[in-house]
């Protein structure tokens, strides 16, 4: 029980108090306020909320570490996770907003007018969100493990309980202002250490401009050690793997159910476009800083930790060794820790660097609070999309259309608790680094929802048989490739498990198009609804003609 523990814990508790306070304040306001029609959150704040939903443990805890270990090859994550917002904002978000449904499976079920498609889409949502949440849980395990100085696995168990409570009794679900607060905490927590490190190393408070100066020095260090140079391209994989991973992350971004749902809550198509733009600006702030974080961490590790006498290592090493994510072993018994004898997991770089750089207890505590905000806000969104897929799309829309509200709510809560427990079990022994697990979720979204949604919005001829074939083929191909590449050593052009989405998406698009063309066209009504998505809300497509709505609700 040291000062660091007390400081970290109190900052985490204070931020939790803030989120809960905002949630309660807004709840109270909502019931006392009379219902104002057309009220919406301004796009700029909606953008922040999307940012909080979006930036998970993978972005906050995992990404900088992944970039640090992969060098240039890790930048596929940066470009992929930001570039996807163009696909989402141009091709899908405004159109889905105009169509107006509660969940992604509901859009697919209604657009294709098919219950089997709805159920398959709901199952895909559950699989994707479930995979994603394994990454979040193992992230919370890292944070809690460090906090209590226990094994990360024990930390994961505590995280499971926290997240299950948070989402199941979530007064906070869908409350935009809480997410605005979470965004603010996590971005401050991320930027402060990078700025401090930048000042420490380069005397320049703008890390984005200053870390280029390290290029020369790091290159020299790399050459001395005889390892591949940090900034050199394609040292950890082929160029095709880089491109495939980037493609997978981009299309996955546009197909992730818990992100798309956020665009259903904006007021109009125009608001959807602006929300997408603001969201990427806020997300970009963290993504532009992550490579700087990575470069500074690597520089500090190489210059201040490697080369030390093993008996004189600073105190932070033992606490991280306790979590099981850091290994320091004097393999050649010369009493000095060489760079190659230091094995650091991707997942602890962001958390450990403030300690390594000696940034003080407050900053270290703040980073822990930011990481918890990232893991919790995303895990909450994921659990809600799992429970709504099951309770709303499968249970209510297909199995029991006349279930009471109360019954549906309890089904939703139980599905959250079970999903969290099960994901927690897998996270105890995570099958990969956080970013890698999350990349699988993106591969699955790329192979299933991206083709189904894009064809559903942009191609009226696509029909129920086509989308069912597409979803099933995409899911099978993506899953098989992930397993074959990870456990069977099977690769094409050096594309490994994280790039699997390329094959899934290609197969799904071909299956959807071929089967759609081989079977009868969808009904006139459905085709008209799809045509209607080309125009803004005010223009309505009907019987081959376009009508302009100029007097509001009266005429629809």
């Amino acid at each position: 029980m040291d000062t660091q523990f007390l400081v970290s814990l109190s900052i985490i508790l204070a931020t939790f108090g803030l989120y809960i306070g905002i949630a309660i304040y807004n709840k109270a306001k909502e019931t006392s306020d009379f219902y104002v029609a057309g009220r919406g959150v301004p796009p700029i704040f909606n953008g922040m909320a999307i940012g909080a939903d979006w930036m998970s443990a993978a972005s906050f805890i995992g990404m900088a570490g992944t970039i640090m270990l992969l060098g240039y090859d890790g930048l596929a994550y940066i470009m992929g996770w930001t570039g996807g917002y163009l696909l989402l904002t141009f091709l899908l978000a405004p159109q889905l907003r105009k169509y107006g449904r509660y969940t992604v499976p509901e859009f697919i079920g209604d657009r294709y007018n098919s219950h089997p498609a709805r159920v398959i889409a709901a199952l895909c949502t559950i699989i994707i969100s479930f995979t994603y949440s394994i990454g979040q849980l193992s992230g919370s395990g890292v944070v809690i493990g460090r906090l209590f100085e226990i094994d990360a696995r024990l930390g994961t168990m505590i995280g499971v309980v926290l997240i299950a409570f948070y989402a199941a009794f979530g007064g906070m679900k869908g409350i935009t202002w809480t997410q605005v607060a979470q965004y603010s905490i996590l971005i401050i927590a991320y930027l402060i250490p990078v700025i401090f490190m930048s000042l420490q190393i380069t005397n320049n408070p703008a890390p984005w401009l200053s870390y280029g100066a390290l290029v020369g020095q790091m290159g020299e260090l790399d050459r001395e050690l005889g390892i591949s140079e940090y900034f050199a391209p394609f040292t950890n994989g082929t160029k095709w793997q880089f491109l495939a991973l980037m493609f997978t992350l981009m299309c996955g971004t546009a197909g992730l159910p818990h992100v798309i749902v956020r665009f259903y809550t904006v007021s109009t198509m125009k608001a959807a476009r602006w929300s997408g733009a603001w969201a990427l600006l806020f997300i970009g702030l963290l993504y532009l800083s992550a490579p700087a974080y990575a470069a500074f961490s690597r520089f500090i590790l190489m210059t201040k930790v490697a080369g030390q006498r093993i008996t004189e290592l600073p105190a932070w090493t033992t606490t991280w060794v306790d979590t099981g994510k850091l290994t320091v072993a004097d393999n050649n018994n010369d009493g000095i820790l060489q760079w190659s004898e230091l094995i650091i997991s991707n997942d602890i770089v962001v958390m450990a660097t403030p300690e390594i750089a000696n940034l003080g207890t407050f900053v270290i505590g703040l980073v822990a609070a930011g990481a918890m905000a990232a893991a919790l806000s995303t895990a909450g969104g994921l659990m809600i999309s799992i429970s709504s897929s099951f309770a709303h799309d499968i249970y209510y829309r297909v199995m029991r259309p006349n279930a009471t509200e109360k019954k549906r709510l309890s089904v939703a809560r139980w599905s959250i608790v079970l999903a969290t427990l099960f994901a927690g079990l897998i996270a105890l022994n995570p099958p990969g680094a956080i970013t890698q697990i999350v990349a699988w979720a993106f591969a699955l979204a790329t192979g299933t929802f991206f083709p189904a949604l894009v064809l559903g919005v942009w191609w009226k001829r696509s029909n129920a048989q086509g989308v069912i074939a597409g979803l099933l083929v995409g899911l099978t191909v993506t899953l098989s490739y992930i397993f074959a590449a990870k456990y069977g050593g099977f690769t094409v052009l050096g594309i490994i498990d994280t790039g699997a989405g390329v094959f899934g998406a290609a197969a799904a698009i071909i299956a959807n198009v071929v089967v759609s063309l081989a079977t009868p066209a969808p009904s006139q009504k459905i085709q008209e609804e799809v045509m209607d998505l080309r125009y803004p809300e005010q223009m309505v497509y009907k019987d081959g003609e376009v009508w302009m709505n100029e007097d509001g609700n009266k005429s629809i």
Binding site: G38, R39, G40, Y72, A76, I78, M79, T82, G83, Y85, L86, F90, R97, G100, Y102, G174, I175, T176, W208, G212, A213, V215, G216, F231, P233, F234, K239, L243, M246, M250, Y264, T265, T268, M269, K270, R273, G276, A277, L280, L281, G284, Y287, L288, P291, R534, Y535, P536, E537, Q538, V540, Y541, E545, V546, W547, M548, N549, E550, G552, N553, I556
Partner: protein
């Protein structure tokens, strides 16, 4: 409701798509293009960074952000040109989905 010429509506759709295609071309060049030619670009240095690294870490992301804002602005202008009234849109979309 007032009927409008189908060709006007199609014009709206085409105009927006033309811009969208332009954005996607730029999007492709700054991300996929920069990766495809990474080895060649690494000989150029910008602000201390080899150019391929700069594009991956900063250049592409900044371009994406700018493109999204340009799209939002340009779409607003196109909407205005075709007489779309945002207040009317807000009324029309009410109650169609969850209102948080």
């Amino acid at each position: 409701m007032k009927k409008i010429d189908k060709s006007v509506a199609d014009q709206y759709f085409r105009e927006k798509n033309r811009f969208m295609i332009l954005y996607f071309v730029i999007w492709f060049i700054v991300s996929y293009g920069a990766v495809l030619f990474a080895e060649t670009l690494s000989n150029i240095t910008i602000n201390g960074f080899p150019f391929h690294y700069f594009m991956g870490a900063q250049g592409a992301v900044l371009t994406f952000i700018i493109l999204l804002f340009v799209n939002a602005k340009v779409s607003d202008r196109i909407d205005k040109k075709y007489g779309i009234d945002e207040a009317e849109n807000v009324k029309l979309s009410q109650g169609k989905t969850v209102d948080h």
